[in-house]
């Protein structure tokens, strides 16, 4: 039998992947110093603002939907059959 492709199941590969991701994240922030910035809002002057914004926005979205789901809108799958 052909051996199946299971690269993503090996812990050492996940480790490599994590390192690669961190490097890419750092590059994306450092790139900002290489380009000519076109200031459209005051906050555009702060370096890495879009990175911080993206992270915080997603964190807030995740936490809000977790809370709404847990205390209000998430129900058992047979909810409508009851």
């Amino acid at each position: 039998m052909k051996k199946e492709f299971d690269w993503f199941d090996k812990p050492e590969n996940i480790k490599k992947l994590k390192t690669a991701c961190i490097v890419i994240l750092m590059i994306s922030v450092l790139c900002e110093f290489l380009i000519h910035k076109h200031i459209q809002h005051v906050w555009d002057k702060i370096p890495g603002i879009h990175a911080v914004f993206g992270f915080i926005a997603c964190a807030v979205l995740i936490i809000i939907s977790k809370l709404i789901g847990k205390y209000w809108l998430k129900k058992d799958e047979d909810y409508y059959d009851k």
Binding site: S28, E32, I35, Q40, C58, V60, L61, I62, K74, D76
Partner: protein
């Protein structure tokens, strides 16, 4: 003569009838020829083309052509070509037939020259699309299908009421930019917004689309909401309310998509999120924002179709759609995985994909018009898109925990269709010029400035980081998420139950008072008035039912009554006799 070409809608509808006559290979060729012929027709249409006829005094025009309608004409033909390629192996006649009618009527709406033709095709769309849901042949699908139809019939009636009211005000069925804020305008707007899935009129989509067949979902994702975007672009551009509704929609879609467990339901909510961007563009109403909305609709139909194809492939091969049942499929479905990731990148607007060259136009026009808060909301939504459609969907379906599923890539035609759309996603991202050229207004916009690229990359990559940091909170649970369909699925039942409860209580009270108590009390009172009254009070004091025992008692004379009433009766009789004597003598 180019100007006497038939409307593309007619080609699809006649094609649908012809397709019923053939089988196997020949039928497959016809299914692919019809969209190709449709594309050729749209290509050759010009401003003078018309397809008009009169129906009992009404002048109907089914072919009014300008640049805006041509953009949607092109993309509808391309989308239907890809979708039929994906669905080519399906043997069900009904599915292909209704899909052809559905695409044809969507094209009919796009090229409609007056509100009556628009309305006729609008209704055709609702009735043909529901077949793609019913064709799944499960109880859940047929229930959801009928709810879907119900909402669209109501929406259609609201639209019709608006159209007729507008006709009685203006005497015209012409489709023009609507500026007056009258009841008729709002009715038409509501009719359109229902099809665009604007909350709270949106739950039909997440309720019904995921129940469609593996291939039907690909069709559904493309046409209903995008025809609504088209008609809004044509009639309601510049309406402020659309900016706020659209912005709310982008966030609403994300929050629900994060909560969902069903992969196809996640995709339905992300349609809502993406249509939100387009509606903001329509609401801003500048040439750039409207170009952005049209371009984004064009790009969206392709990458969203591709996402539905990959989810459809997984459903087709494994029979499963829930994230809790899926995982680890990267090992055996590489083609599906790669195509899915390309679509996920495109919907997230990664540079070099179609989303980047189209969505950023809408973002830029919100900056240009100084809608700062709206811009911030759209940025949050852009980050959230990557979170739910860009990472969550592929991660839980293809990676996460291996659930031991060993499904291979789907049939060849499905794979080719996915590759076709994936190539288009990248082509529009790398070289957007041909798309920009067909937009309604001249485009003076370059997405690839260092600024745009770097800020978008930062935004998206760090959203991805947030996903993995908060992975614990995103763990899938075997649950469903309530949406506004609760009101007509559960709410109505609650109302019926509570009304029934109240009515039964009233009936019980009537029975108690008029059948059980009153006759007994009256019977007692006529026989033994005083003891009846005394008993009544005694009953109240003793907290006993005041009618208890009344009827069962013996009806013999009562000493108490005779002593109390006797003298009075005696005196009355004497007085009466005296009176009679006086009168006689």
């Amino acid at each position: 003569m180019i100007s006497n070409l038939p409307a593309p809608a007619i080609v699809f509808i006649i094609g649908a009838l012809i397709s019923l006559l053939f089988k196997n290979k020949l039928k497959q060729i016809i299914l692919l020829l019809i969209p190709a012929l449709g594309f050729y027709l749209v290509w050759n249409l010009t401003g003078d083309s018309s397809f008009a006829f009169s129906l009992s005094g009404l002048e109907l025009n089914m072919l009014k052509v300008d640049k805006l309608s041509k953009v949607f004409g092109y993309i509808f033909c391309i989308a239907s070509f890809g979708s039929f390629l994906f669905a080519l192996h399906v043997k069900e006649n009904l599915e292909h037939f209704s899909a052809l009618i559905y695409v044809g009527s969507a094209l009919g709406v796009v090229f409609a020259g007056d509100f009556i033709s628009l309305y006729i095709f609008w209704e055709f769309m609702a009735f043909s699309s529901v077949m793609l849901i019913l064709a799944r042949k499960t109880k859940k699908a047929s229930d959801a299908g009928f709810r879907y139809l119900l909402i669209h019939v109501v929406g259609g009636l609201v639209l019709l009421a608006g159209i007729l009211l507008q006709y009685s005000n203006t005497g015209s069925f012409a489709i023009t930019h609507i500026t007056s804020k009258t009841i008729s305008s709002y009715l038409i707007l509501i009719g359109f917004l229902i099809n665009a899935a604007v909350p709270p009129l949106s739950a039909w989509m997440s309720d019904a689309y995921p129940e469609s067949t593996a291939t039907g979902g690909v069709f559904l994702s493309a046409f209903t909401t995008k025809t609504a975007v088209y008609v809004l672009l044509r009639t309601f551009y510049g309406w402020d309310i659309l900016i706020y509704l659209g912005a709310a929609m982008t966030i609403y879609g994300i929050i629900f998509a994060i909560m969902e467990n069903d992969a196809r339901r996640i995709l339905a909510y992300s349609i809502m999120n993406q249509v939100g961007f387009m509606i903001v563009g329509i609401g801003i109403g500048t040439q750039m924002s409207m170009n952005g909305a049209a371009a984004h609709a064009f790009a969206h139909i392709i990458y969203k179709g591709l996402l539905w194809m990959s989810a459809g492939s997984v459903l087709y091969m494994t029979g499963k759609t829930k994230c809790t049942d899926l995982g680890g499929l990267y090992k055996t479905m590489p083609v599906t995985l790669v195509c899915c990731c390309i679509a996920a990148a495109a919907i997230s607007a990664f540079p070099l994909t179609s989303g980047f060259t189209t969505k950023t136009m809408i973002l830029q026009s919100s900056i240009n018009q100084h809608f700062t808060i709206i811009y911030i909301i759209l940025e949050i939504a852009s980050a959230g898109v990557f979170l739910h459609a860009g990472v969550k969907f592929p991660y839980f379906v293809f990676f996460a925990k291996d659930k031991g599923l060993r499904a291979s890539d789907p049939k060849k035609n499905m794979q080719i269709a996915m590759i076709f759309f994936a190539v288009l996603c990248i082509a529009i991202g790398v070289y957007p010029k041909p798309l920009y050229n067909i937009l309604p207004y001249a485009v003076d916009y370059n997405a690839y400035t260092g600024d745009h690229v770097v800020s978008m990359l930062q935004l998206l990559l760090f959203s991805g980081l947030a996903f993995f940091v908060f992975l614990g909170l995103l763990k899938r649970t075997e649950t469903i998420t309530l949406d506004t369909d609760w009101f007509y699925r559960k709410g109505v039942r609650l109302i019926v139950n509570s009304v029934t409860y109240v009515i039964s209580k009233i009936a019980y009270a009537f029975d108690f008072v008029f059948i059980k108590s009153l006759p007994a009390i009256l019977a007692k009172f006529t026989q033994k008035p005083l003891s009846a009254i005394a008993g009544f009070f005694a009953g109240i004091i003793k907290k006993e039912p005041f009618y208890s025992g009344y009827a069962a008692e013996s009806s013999g004379p009562e000493w108490l009554t005779i002593i109390a009433v006797g003298p009075v009766v005696l005196v009355s009789v004497i007085i009466l006799m005296i009176l009679a004597g006086v009168l006689v003598f």
